[in-house]
Amino acid sequence: MPSHTQPAASRDLRLDFFRGVALICIFIDHIPENYLNYFTLSAIGFSDAAEVFIFISGFTASLVYGRAMAARGVLIATVQVMRRAWQLYVAHIFLFVIFIAEVSYTVKTFNNPMYNEEMGVGDFLEHPHIAVIQALILQFQPTYLDILPLYIVLLLIFPLVLVAMERSRWLALAPSLIVYLGVQYFGTNVPAYPLGSVWTFNPLAWQFLFVLGAVLGQTEARRRGPTTILRIAYLPAIGIAIAALAIRLSWAFHGLHESFPALFLRQLWPVDKSNLAPIRLISFFALFVLVARWVPPQASFLRSAWTRPVVLCGSHSLEIFCLSILLSALAHFLMSEIASGFTMQLAVNVLGIAAMCLTAAMLDWYREVQRAPLRPALPAGSQRGEGED
């Protein structure tokens, strides 16, 4: 965000706050056998942190690069988007190197023959020379290395979305919706490596949420907030959100005690995350409508000291996301090597979230320091920010 060109107060802190919440939930969800999983976004509806993350990313991308395009033209905006995609790519490769380190270490210190055969399947070990190349072209997506490839692909198509939106929002939305519906109808997916697997987050489906976020971001930027739609959708959204909450809770209780009835489990499960099943999308938008209605951009809690760490996490989302992946791997390692009891779980969760917040605070401090002395020398309106970081 080029925040020096506008007063900080005009930045919509809701975006940072909810992206921060999503990042913390992603961290918690990524630690297996973690009781805190029951309290993340996935517990209150069919959607989870992934939807929030992708939607807000589309929303902010539209704000930032839309502004860049209006001020400096399509070409510069495109270059900025590509630069951002490159940063994400580098981050992805960084995480992949850590994955390699983890795999190599674990396999070399492996004592249990019961898994040797199965572990050999990890195609990385069998054909490392191919697996590395497949990772470089985003085709090999081991555990947790699946959302950045999606984000990268979404940014690569984003200049087209920007140009289309400039003409008419329907020019951007209509093709996106058609592709999404096509995926729902035909079950089309994008093949990945190894042969037979597919992209965990089907970009053909998830692009719709990103484009929707972008279109809503554009209306917001033009101060033509979709107030009528929000008013009309308000009551249905309350109904949907309550129904989704009740169903999800019944599933959670059913998981704990088999005698507890799981509502509509037979009809609704499994909810297809890979292809962003409509029920996830509807559940997410019900929450979106409620949040848009209940939480005004100027809500005082967004500025309180208590929410500040979350807002900071959200405003440095790429770094904090990468850190969260590292931390959840580390947390899991500690839990499986030392203990997995409740105290340990609480400790790794609390420490991990604290590490994320502290890092975000440090990054923010550094950004301010870096900016401050240069400010008077810069011509007004110049772009020094990192875009949406």
Binding site: P32, T106, M114, E117, F333
Partner: protein
């Protein structure tokens, strides 16, 4: 006959005593080794195996097919003779001396649930089993198969078996500390158990059992010499066989 009622009590009691003694002695169920003990809640859920029960009632031979991966063929123990299907075969022959039960091992390492399913026509239906023990999920977790596809494959397999009047027991993944640090099993475990739940098919919680043994340091691969690891693996397979036998005995007393 009022006077003779009193002596009848002890006689009945004695008869009952002899009967129970005979009952206890006659089948002499194969005793589970102490090291296999697990918390009772892990074996709480029961299941029905109507087709197997009917077959045994009719005194006809019953064939069980065990399909799955490396842990079905018994790779880590060094020989199929030490695999859980073979040990299950031994336990069942012992526990049902009157019946003719055979367990056929159709484990092939490194196969996904989908690949198991593709083998059903040749490896399962061709054998004409009355019960199938389907051990699956590890390779799907290792390879990162789409979880929904995994669930759908299981559902298809279960439907095919049910349509042919074949009873089913599912076996979930193996637990290993180092592997869980690397592979995300949770989503696949959840999917497997939920499919079982919806289809009313019993899923042996092998993951939870092995997790428990690991916590209790019952089987510790870190502390044995490499050449003894196969023996340790065979002991784990043996315990799994006892657990399966227990599930079958409960369904078909």
């Amino acid at each position: 006959m009022g006077g003779r009622r009193y002596p009848a009590g002890p006689v009945v009691l004695a008869l009952a005593g002899i009967l129970t003694a005979m009952l206890a002695a006659a089948p002499a169920l194969a005793a589970e080794p102490d090291e296999c003990a697990t918390p009772p809640e892990l074996m709480e859920a029961g299941t029905q195996l109507p087709n197997l029960a009917a077959r045994l009632r009719a005194h006809q031979p019953a064939k069980i097919v065990a399909i799955g991966g490396a842990s079905t063929i018994g790779l880590a123990a060094g020989s199929p003779d030490r695999s859980y299907p073979h040990q299950l075969d031994q336990i069942l022959s012992h526990d049902y001396p009157q019946a003719s039960i055979t367990v056929v091992n159709k484990g092939v390492p490194r196969q996904s649930a989908r690949q198991n399913l593709d083998r059903f026509p040749t490896d399962v239906f061709a054998e004409d089993p009355v019960l199938v023990v389907w051990e699956t999920g590890i390779n799907d977790a290792v390879r990162g198969t789409d979880v929904d596809d995994f669930a759908e494959t299981l559902q298809t397999g279960i439907d095919q078996l049910k349509n042919r009047a074949i009873d089913i027991i599912m076996v979930d993944m193996q637990f290993s500390r180092s592997a869980t640090a690397l592979i995300n099993f949770e989503a696949y475990l959840k999917a497997l158990h939920r499919v079982g739940d919806l289809a009313e098919v019993y899923v042996l919680p092998r993951f939870a059992m092995m997790h428990y043994w690991s916590e209790q340091k019952v089987f510790n691969f870190d502390e044995v010499a490499p050449e003894d690891r196969a023996k340790l693996a065979a002991r784990v397979y043996n315990c799994i066989a006892y657990k399966l036998a227990q599930v079958i005995r409960r369904a078909v007393p």
